[in-house]
Structures are given as C-alpha cells and as structure tokens.
C-alpha cells in the first residue's frame, strides 16, 4: 500500500495512505480524544471533540474523519485546539443531566473523563433542557436527558445489527434519539442485544438493573438459590476490578459467588455441553431426514431468536429447537436437580450470570418453563455481578481461586468455547465427529471457525459425507446468510449465529471499555484468547465426555433427543409482528 509521511506536532510519521489523522497521531505518540467516533461502528464526525489544526486548512479539522496526505503538518495540542475542545465539551455539558453521582456510568463515563482532562466548568453555560421521559424495558433503559447525540447507538443498531429501531428524530435543538412515531422501545422490533449500551459513551443507555432482586433472594433464608455463570463472564468480569482485558478470573468469580451466599455455584458450560449433545443429535437427524429444514441454525443467542421472529419468520424452521444453555441450565435445575435433592420448586431460585441483556427477555418467553415455573428466575449481566460484588463488600482481588460445586458444576472447555464466535460450531464438530465416526479425533482444534471475522466457513468430512458449515456474528452478517437461504443460494448444512460481533465475549452485558481503548485494541480477540488458552490447557475438551452430561443422560434423560429431553430441553418459536399497533 502507498505510504504517506506527515508531521504531527513536529514528529515525523509514516503511515498507509487513507489513514485517519487520529490513527496517525496515535502512531506518533499522541492521543486525540473521541466522543462520537467508534472504530468500525460510528464515524459521524458529529461531536467535534477530536479537532486538530492542520497547516493551511481554513478551520479546525475533525481528525476522526480527515485522512492524512503527504507532507501534511498537524498540531493536536495547540491552545486553539485545546480551547476549542474545552468549549465543545462545556456546550455538550450545558444541557446534559448532570446527575453524575447517581449515574450507572459514574467512574466509567467518557464525557466526565473529557471534562476532567480539559479542566471544564460543567456549569459554564446553561442550556435549555428538554425533559424527556425515560424509556424503560425489562432489559434496557434509555434516558435521553443524558444523551450527547453522538449517534454511536444509532450506528451500531443500524449498521452492525441491521435493526435500526433507534435514530435521530426532529432537528436542531429538538433533535433526540428515539423510535419511529416516538413509540417506546418495547413497542418496536428491538432485538435486545444491548450493543447500544456498550457503545454509549455516557449513561444514556444502560441495562435494567436486577441486583436488588438477587440480593432479596440471597437474604431470604427460605430460598435455595443456585447460580450459573455463562462461559464469557469469567473472561470479562476481571475488567471491572482493574485486571487487563482478557484475564480469566474463573476461580475468583466462583469464590466471590460463594461469598455472596449462593447455595450452589454451577457452570453454565455444563449446560452448553448438554446443548451440544441435543443440537448435535438434532443435526444428525436433520441430515438424514430429507424433509427437515437445512441448513440448521443455532439457537443459543436470544437476540438472534428475536431477530428471526421479527424479521425472518418464514425461516424459523431452520432454527434448532434446542433451548439456549441458560435455559437448559435452569430447566435441569428445576426438574432433575430439584427432584434429586428434594427441593420444593417454590423454595428454589435459579440466577444466571450472562454477558447479555437479551437473556433478560429470554426467561420470560413461552416454552421456557419445563417444571411449570420459569426455568431461570433472574438474569444478571457481567456488569451487574461486578456491582453486586462491590456492593456486598467482597474483596475480589484478594480472593483465592475456588472451584465450581459438585456434582454437576463442571463443564468441558467445549462448552466454554460458546463464549467466542465459532465456539458452538467447534464444540459441535468435536462431538458430532466422534459420535458419527465412533473413534477419537486426532485433531480437535477447528481453527477455520475461530477468529473475529464476521462470516467464516469450513468443510468437514463426516463418515464420507462433506459437511459445509458457516459461522457468523452480528446480525448484519446473519442477514447476508438469511438472504442467501431465501434466494436458494446457500449450500451450508449447519450455521452458527451469534447476535453480537465476536460472540458473547463482546455481549451487550459485558464490561464497557471507553473508545480510547476500543479504538486501539480488539477487545473481542483479547477476551476470546483467554477462552482458547483455557481450552488448550484443559483435560476435558469434549462435551460428550463431561461426567455431568453422562450422569444426566444415565439418570434422567436416557439419551439425546429422547422424549423427556424434548419436553425439558427444547422449545419453539413464533412469528412476531414488528409493530403491534
């Protein structure tokens, strides 16, 4: 690629042609602040915080949008630049609801960081404030009074997810982010992925906090409370306590959950193993049954399920009927476990810790109550778990590692792989290959399905038959595949879809990193690496070899795909209207 040499604050730097000034400055050793720019997501150039001086230019230039040119001379920290940024931030603050002490993003707010860095007076200007109603759903809350109109949420919803239920309405001072016809989010085909939350630089978007519900359960001595943790929580949670991105804190997480007072601490990885057994069996059935819908598509990701029900109901038969690992986990607890340990259902509560806000919608779905009561009672995101740990005064960093409880606590690292895009496919291939071939695999790493690329595909040979598999993450990528299926151009047999780009490690419930981090490192890859590292070292790497899985089939489910398994571990889907009124 053509190289360009320029000077930034008199430091010479050579970069590829087409590089943004922002990135060239980073290379030269200068940070430029951003409030609206989000790498690969949002490039609106709307906030004007990243302005720089360019020699010969008439006015200040937005470094997130302007690209370098040969011989360019850029100045990122002149008094003119610093003063402009300061005024811009003060003007943004002029109509911002400055309820910082009560804000969920207190301590992790990009606007507050900028205000501090630029020595701003938050009350320099008093802007006209609109009093916007707070839009509350069972999974997410939107507070336009804190919105800085950066458009990151709009870009991620529209461009990355292809959903576009939020956007700018009206103009000028009346501009605000809203839904069509100012409907509440709950009346729109929002898939509940929560990517808008992790994109938001301030506290205008956040998850519905359910920590009080969990605290109440834990303080109720009458209740037997079981908690299960999703694969990717352990590689995200540490960030809330100052660990580097991609640190696996499984042992401390388990230890903290025990100290919070949960009666049992189990790993949803085990339920992911069960998903593989059921989904693998379902797939083999579909391969043989000429009338069954192929390709089969995974059903672990509740945002994806909502997307299918709202946007592609005609393709619902392609979805695996397997419940997600979270729901299988809850269903097993409320049936097998409750019965075996003689716990009355009205005394038993199941809490799950998820990297996801859509999981909060999944527990209320029809067909997710195997024992006649909801399979899972409360879902906390990774962020809420961190909040609960802090609230309860647990010294996370000082904790010694502990192990999940017996007897069904432990899962294989095939289940753990569910946390990264491609993980379900790899786990399924490990099991399906061995179940079909009936002999151990020489190589169990399926590297073609790993990595953060949006769409990946591979071919595997099963018993002489070539199977084509595909893995996609983010709904805009899923849409491409769905359109191919509709057009009859798709020859895959098995497709894994994850709602969030990069899979659950980058879920809408994971710790929020500011754009100063995400614009420079790929947090999806770092968190996924922690998962693959754990898998590399683990003794138990295949779902069908997990002792708990063997026990469950022996004592309760008989065999994968049995009548009882279908009653408890499978579900159904239905078309949903995008707009109900």
């Amino acid at each position: 690629m053509k190289q360009v040499t320029l000077k930034i604050n008199n430091v010479s730097v050579t970069v590829d042609a087409g590089t943004r000034i922002l990135d060239a400055a980073k290379k030269a050793g200068f940070n430029i602040p951003t409030l609206c720019y989000l790498k690969d997501v949002c490039n609106e150039g709307s906030c004007r915080v990243c302005v720089v001086e360019v020699k010969g230019a008439r006015s200040l230039v937005a470094s997130c949008s302007a690209v370098v040119s040969e011989g360019m001379e850029v100045f990122t920290n002149t008094p003119k630049v610093i003063n402009s940024r300061k005024k811009t931030i003060e003007l943004i603050l002029s109509n911002h609801k400055k309820a910082c002490l009560m804000c969920v993003r207190n301590g992790n707010c990009e606007l507050a960081t900028l205000a501090q860095d630029y020595n701003c007076n938050a009350f320099e200007y008093e802007g006209v404030t609109e009093n916007y109603d707070i839009d509350e759903t069972p999974y997410l809350i939107r507070d336009n009074n804190k919105c800085v109109l950066c458009r990151r949420c709009v870009a991620v919803c529209n461009k990355v997810q292809g959903v576009g239920v939020i956007g700018p309405n009206k103009r000028g001072f009346a501009t605000h982010i809203g839904c069509a016809f100012e409907q509440p989010l709950s009346a729109t085909p929002c898939v509940a992925c929560g990517q808008c939350i992790t994109a938001c630089p301030v506290g205008a978007l956040h998850e519905k906090d359910d920590t009080d519900k969990v605290n109440a359960l834990l303080k109720d001595t009458d209740k037997y409370v079981i908690v299960g943790t999703a694969p990717s929580v352990r590689v995200g949670l540490g960030e809330e306590f100052g660990y580097p991105i991609g640190t696996n804190v499984e042992g401390k997480m388990v230890s903290a959950l025990k100290r919070l007072g949960f009666d049992k601490v189990f790993d949803v990885d085990m339920a992911a193993d069960m998903t593989i057994m059921e989904e693998g069996t379902e797939f083999l059935h579909r391969l043989k049954d000429k009338t069954a819908a192929l390709p089969m598509m995974t059903s672990c990701s509740p945002g994806w399920i909502r997307y299918m029900e709202f946007y592609y109901p005609e393709l619902l038969p392609h979805l695996s009927t397997c419940k997600s690992p979270q729901q299988m986990f809850g269903a097993i607890m409320k049936t097998y476990y409750a019965k075996k340990y003689n716990i009355p259902l009205d005394k038993l509560a199941v809490v799950s810790i998820m990297p996801c806000v859509a999981k909060k919608t999944e527990i209320g779905r029809e067909g997710q109550s195997a024992a006649g009561v909801p399979d899972v009672d409360v879902v906390l995101t990774t962020r809420e778990l961190a909040r609960l740990i802090k609230n309860q005064g647990i010294d996370f960093k000082g904790l010694a590692d502990e192990k999940f409880d017996d007897p069904i606590g432990e899962g294989s690292t095939a289940g753990l792989l569910f946390g990264a895009t491609g993980g379900v496919m790899e786990a399924a291939l490990r099991t399906v290959s061995e179940v079909v071939l009936k002999k151990p695999l020489d190589k169990i790493d399926f590297k073609a399905v790993r990595g953060v690329k949006g769409i990946k595909s591979a071919k595997v040979t099963l018993d002489g038959q070539t199977i084509k598999v595909c893995v996609a993450s983010s709904l805009s990528n899923a849409k491409k595949i769905l359109e191919d299926i509709k057009a009859g151009k798709c020859d895959y047999h098995f497709i894994e879809i994850m709602t969030c780009p990069g899979g659950c490690v980058n879920g809408g419930g994971q710790p929020i990193q500011p754009s100063s981090v995400t614009n420079n490192v790929d947090i999806r890859a770092l968190r996924a690496k922690a998962i693959y590292d754990a898998d590399k070292k683990a003794p138990l790497r295949k779902s069908h070899e997990t002792p708990a899985v063997k026990t469950l089939y022996k004592e309760f489910f008989n065999e994968p795909g049995s009548h009882r398994a279908h009653e408890i571990l499978h579900t159904s889907y239905k078309k949903r209207n995008k707009y109900n009124s």
């Binding site: 959903v163 239920v165 939020i166 700018p168 309405n169 069509a180 009124s581």
Partner: protein, 160 residues
Amino acid sequence: MINSFDDTPKQAAELQAALDELKDVPGPLMKALQKAQDIYGWLPAPVQNKIAEYFDVPLEEIYGIATFYSQFNLNPNGKHKIGVCLGTACYVKGSGDILNALEQKLKISAGNTTQDRNFTLEATRCIGCCGLAPVLTVNGEVYGKLTVDDVDKLLSKYTD
C-alpha cells in the same frame, strides 16, 4: 397505528406506482416521501411503513427524515386550509387578532387541524398582497381587508 391501513384503492395504486418508479433511483427516500405526501396530503404511519418495507430500510429512518424536514406533514390536513398572514403589514393591521379569533372559534392553535378535520389553521409569512392587509387565504383563495367580525361569516361559508 402502523399496521391498520384505510386508504382508497386508488391511493394505494398511486403509491405503489410511485414507489416502483423510484425502485432503482439512488437515494429514493426523500422523493418517495414527497410523492406519498402528494397522494395522501400528509404522511400516515402505515404509508411510512410501506415505504420502509419497500426500500428495506428501518421505519425509524423514514420517521427520522419525515420529522427532520418541515415540508412533511405528520398530521392530516383539514378539508379547508386557512392561512392567516402574519407578515408585517398584515400584522400591524390586526391579523394577529384575526388569528386569535380563529383559534378560539375552531378551538385549535395555529398549525393544527380541527377534530372534524374540516379546517387546518396556519399562520403564514407575507403572501405578497399587502395592499389588502390584513389578509388570509382559504384553500388558496385570498380574502382581504378583514376584521375580527368577518370571521364567523367566513367560517360558515366553508362549513357544511
């Protein structure tokens, strides 16, 4: 609101033809909304939804455009459109009082439509016939040298 559609077959056919004509045009949304407004007089929610589905864009994007440009009406117009000139000449000759009288009689404020959808009342800028000040227009027809006392008679002319 969004799903129920009660337009005439003629309107539906016109909209369909207008959309088909824009099928391969780059950036068709503004044109589609303008055409739709020509056909319906305003942009009902189901019409916006139809445009969204036709071009496979989110409904919010359409609504965002419709609320950004003041040329688009998000409320239906009445059968008769009254425009009271608030240009300088008309204003000093008392058009403000005429507007007030109309607002009271019709029980709506300027920019809105009566519940029976018979009248839409608007305040306009100078319409260029200051010699007749104060003036108002009904469906484009100009009435000049008005007083507050003329309001009742004028309204009754357009009330069935």
